[in-house]
C-alpha cells in the first residue's frame, strides 16, 4: 500500500451548498440537487463551467443531472442510494483530482424519500430474512444495541445521551428540521419502533440535497472562501455478513478502528486534536460504536463515556453540531461533511465550536470511512 501521508492536505473543499430540509413534493432529485449546486457555486464563486468532474449519489441519472446544470465533465461517477456513500465519494473525487482526471469536482446528493414515503423496510428492500419478519436498518441496529447492552451493560438512558446532545445542537441550528429540545425522559418514554430502539433513536426521513465542490489545495486559493483541507482519510469494508444488512456482529469495531487509524496517521493528528466529531447517526447506537472504534473510549465503555452530556457543544467532544441525521436532516453523511467545513470556516453562529481546527467525519457502516478536515 502506498503511504497515504503523501496525500495529506493535497485536496481542498472550496464550496458547499444545501437546500432547505423538509417535505418538498413539488420537485424531484434534479430540482433539489440543482438548488444545492447553485448554492455551492455561489459559496465559492466558481464559474460553473470550470467544473469538469461530476459525482452523483441518490440521483437517478448522471447525464440528466449534467443536462440540467449544462455540464459536460470529463470525469463522472454515480454512487448507489445507500447511506454510506458520502465518505466513499469524497475520497474517490479527491483521488480523481490528485491524479489529474478532473480539476474541479462537484459532488451532489439528493434525497426525496419523505415526499415519496420511503419506508426503508418490507417489500421495498427484499432480503433473505423477510420470512421471519426481519427487515429494516433500524432493526439491525436494535439487534446490535441489544447485544451491546448484554455484553457491556450499556443502558438505554446512556443511549439517550446521544439523541439529547444531537437535538440540543439542532436547536442551535436555524435550518434543522427538529428544533424542540428533548430530555433523557422524553427518550425513555418515546414509543418503541424496534425495541430496544425507540422513535428518538431513529434518524429523520426528509427531502433535501447537498453539494460539495473540491479542487486541489493549490487551486483552492483562487476562490472566495478560506479552503478546508482533506488532511486524512481511511477505509475498511465489512461485507462478509451482508445478508443481515446494516448489521455487524462486532459493531464495526475492527473496521472503524482500521479506518480511524489510517486517517489519524495520514493527518498526523490524534484524538485530543479533534475539536468536533461528525458521526454518521442513522440510529443513535452507531455513535456509541463509532466512539469505541475510533478509540475515544475503550471498547464497551461508550455508554459511560457519553454520560453527563459529553457530546454536547462546550463539553468534551461535540458530536454532530448541526443536529445530525437524528435531528437536522437525513442527508446520509453528506450534510455532516458540509458541517465539518462550516465549523472549520467559523460560520456556525450559536453552534460554533470555539477555536475549531480539526474536524473528523466517520461512518460506521458496511463501508466504513473516516475523513479528517483541517483549516487551510
Amino acid at each position: 500500500m502506498n503511504d497515504l501521508t503523501q496525500l495529506k492536505d493535497r485536496i481542498a473543499v472550496i464550496g458547499v451548498g444545501n437546500t432547505r430540509y423538509g417535505n418538498f413534493p413539488d420537485t424531484d432529485e434534479y430540482g433539489l440537487a440543482a438548488q444545492a449546486f447553485r448554492n455551492a457555486v455561489a459559496d465559492c464563486g466558481i464559474d460553473k463551467n470550470q467544473i469538469d468532474g461530476l459525482l452523483v449519489c441518490r440521483i437517478p441519472y448522471y447525464a440528466r443531472m449534467g443536462e440540467v446544470l449544462g455540464l459536460d465533465p470529463r470525469w463522472t461517477l454515480t454512487l448507489p442510494p445507500h447511506g454510506r456513500m458520502s465518505g466513499m465519494g469524497l475520497i474517490e473525487a479527491a483521488m480523481a483530482i490528485e491524479t489529474g482526471l478532473a480539476t474541479h469536482v462537484a459532488l451532489m446528493y439528493a434525497n426525496i424519500g419523505r415526499s415519496r414515503r420511503v419506508n426503508y423496510g418490507g417489500d421495498e428492500s427484499p432480503g433473505t430474512w423477510d420470512p421471519w419478519g426481519m427487515t429494516s436498518p433500524g432493526a439491525a441496529h436494535a439487534m446490535m444495541f441489544q447485544r451491546h447492552m448484554g455484553l457491556y451493560g450499556t443502558t438505554t438512558r446512556q443511549l439517550a445521551e446521544v439523541s439529547v446532545a444531537v437535538r440540543y445542537h439542532a436547536c442551535l441550528n436555524p435550518d434543522a428540521v427538529m428544533r424542540n429540545p428533548i430530555t433523557i425522559e422524553d427518550h425513555e418514554s418515546a414509543r418503541f419502533i424496534t425495541a430496544p430502539l425507540r422513535l428518538l433513536d431513529y434518524c429523520l426521513i426528509n427531502d433535501g440535497a447537498v453539494c460539495i465542490i473540491l479542487t486541489s489545495a493549490e487551486r483552492a486559493r483562487d476562490f472566495k472562501q478560506r479552503p478546508v483541507l482533506i488532511s486524512g482519510f481511511g477505509a475498511q469494508e465489512s461485507f462478509t455478513q451482508s445478508s443481515i444488512s446494516n448489521f455487524d456482529f462486532d459493531f464495526w469495531y475492527p473496521a472503524v478502528q482500521a479506518a480511524g487509524e489510517q486517517a489519524y496517521r495520514m493527518a498526523g493528528v490524534g484524538h485530543d486534536d479533534v475539536d468536533a466529531l461528525m458521526c454518521y447517526d442513522n440510529f443513535s447506537p452507531t455513535v456509541l460504536f463509532s466512539l469505541e472504534g475510533l478509540g475515544f473510549c475503550p471498547r464497551g465503555e461508550a455508554g459511560r463515556f457519553v454520560e453527563g452530556g459529553t457530546l454536547a457543544l462546550g463539553n468534551r467532544l461535540p458530536v454532530n453540531t448541526d443536529g445530525g441525521h437524528l435531528s437536522n436532516s437525513y442527508m446520509q453523511g453528506w450534510a455532516l461533511n458540509v458541517e465539518a467545513v462550516r465549523q472549520l470556516r467559523g460560520e456556525c453562529g450559536a453552534r460554533q465550536v470555539k477555536d475549531c481546527e480539526v474536524v473528523q467525519y466517520v461512518q460506521a457502516t458496511p463501508c466504513t470511512r473516516s475523513i479528517i478536515y483541517t483549516r487551510g
Partner: protein, 133 residues
C-alpha cells in the same frame, strides 16, 4: 386462513434449504473442499472459491446472540402479530441465522442455549425457528 406474512423467494440456490425445512431438517451449505459451512448459500465457497457446494444437516443446537422486538409492521401480515420477536442465533456448526424466538419470555439472555423448532407456514414453506432450551 391464508398465510399473509412474507414468503421466501425460493430459487435454485436456496431450494435445498426449504426442501429440508419441510422435512423438519435444518441444513446449511458446506464446502466439500475446505469444509466451510455457510448460510445463506453462495454460488461458490466464500472461503476457498470451490464451485461445487453441498448441504450438511445441523444438530439444531444454537446460541442466542441477540434479538429485537418489532413494534412496527413493515408488512400488513404482521399488523396483528405486534410486537413480534426476531432473534439472531449462531448454529453449533458456525453460521449466523436470523429467525424467530418462539415462546414469549422476558427472561432471555445473550448466550442462552436454543434449539430449532419447525413452524409450517404453507404447504411449500416451513420456517425453522428457535426456542430456549
Amino acid at each position: 386462513m391464508t398465510y399473509n406474512k412474507p414468503l421466501p423467494r425460493i430459487d435454485a440456490l436456496s431450494k435445498p434449504f426449504w426442501d429440508a425445512a419441510r422435512e423438519h431438517r435444518l441444513v446449511v451449505q458446506s464446502c466439500p473442499a475446505c469444509g466451510d459451512r455457510h448460510f445463506p448459500p453462495s454460488p461458490v465457497c466464500p472461503k476457498c472459491l470451490n464451485a461445487e457446494q453441498t448441504w450438511t444437516e445441523c444438530s439444531g443446537k444454537a446460541t442466542l446472540e441477540s434479538w429485537v422486538d418489532f413494534h412496527r409492521a413493515y408488512w400488513d401480515g404482521y399488523k396483528d402479530a405486534l410486537p413480534y420477536r426476531v432473534c439472531l442465533v449462531r448454529l453449533e456448526e458456525g453460521p449466523l441465522l436470523a429467525s424467530n424466538l418462539v415462546g414469549a419470555s422476558d427472561d432471555v439472555k445473550i448466550g442462552a442455549p436454543v434449539h430449532v423448532v419447525f413452524d409450517k407456514a404453507t404447504e411449500e414453506v416451513t420456517l425453522p425457528k428457535f426456542s430456549l432450551d
